[in-house]
């Protein structure tokens, strides 16, 4: 084990800014990207449903 306490772990031997700045940015982006990708798919699904519903309405009217 490298660390004697939690505060020692977070201090990263004086390199806290650099280590946590790296891991933090990485974690943030890797949470945001999948959310955006899923949103894009659900947006495509909603638009598709609306398109299909509109077409069905049009077909029943005519």
């Amino acid at each position: 084990m490298n660390w004697n306490s939690a505060s020692e772990f977070f201090a990263m031997g004086g390199h806290a800014l650099y280590v946590w700045g790296s891991f933090g940015a990485c974690a943030a982006l890797m949470i945001i990207e999948p959310i955006l990708a899923r949103k894009r798919r659900s947006k495509a699904l909603t638009e598709l449903k609306r398109e299909i519903a509109a077409r069905k309405d049009y077909e029943t009217e005519t």
Binding site: N2, G13, G14, Y18, S22, C26, E33, A37, K43
Partner: protein, 249 residues
Amino acid sequence: MSNRLVNWFKFASPQTFYPLAGKLIPWFWALTAAFGLAGLYIGFFVAPTDAQQGEGYRIIFIHVPASWMSMFIYLVMAFWAALGLGFNTRLSGMMASALAPTGALMAFLSLWTGALWGKPMWGTWWVWDARLTSELILFFLYLGFIALQSAIDDPRRADKAGAVLALVGVVNIPIIYFSVKWWNTLHQGASVSLTKSPSMAQTMLWGMLLMALAFWMYSIAVSLTRVRAIILERERHAGWVEELGEIRS
């Protein structure tokens, strides 16, 4: 044997690939989590403090995997682009478009973590050395690919234009990889290569390889999610899309 070949071609159609991707995505997320947790555990709790760099070197556990993936994703993207250009297969262009944002993210992370590593070790966030500059060009190539494709309304023409850009840009990949050999750079040479045994502690190496696997699985999971969205966007007038469970419900 010939049966197998037929099956592979079957999955090349968006109609069969869409549900297959949907089934695979949870598995790739599970692998991402498993490799990632193991890699982080080794990276922070097993791998020893570096004699020269102290704890700052732990950035390596994301810097190297992100850099590897930024180059590897580009090669995969260019492969799909070339396939689409040569054989006019529908899915290929969608795969290339789905990979680009993830590749850009990896290139950005490589540069970002590199800057945060360079500051304490070299005393500067950035230098115009060959390795850093060629990686920055890779980031711009991804952005250029995305911008070019989004500027063209017809998706098939966007695929073609993007493919040409992607293929021309491939020349940058060996430049990045060999830059530390070809030029005198501030960036250190490769610690891990195919030709000689790695010049780092075993546990550090294991941590790095596990994190690389996690990044790889992450890239597959997120780009499969994106390719499903792209398939829906582009195939919306195809009959099979209307038959999907998620549309009918």
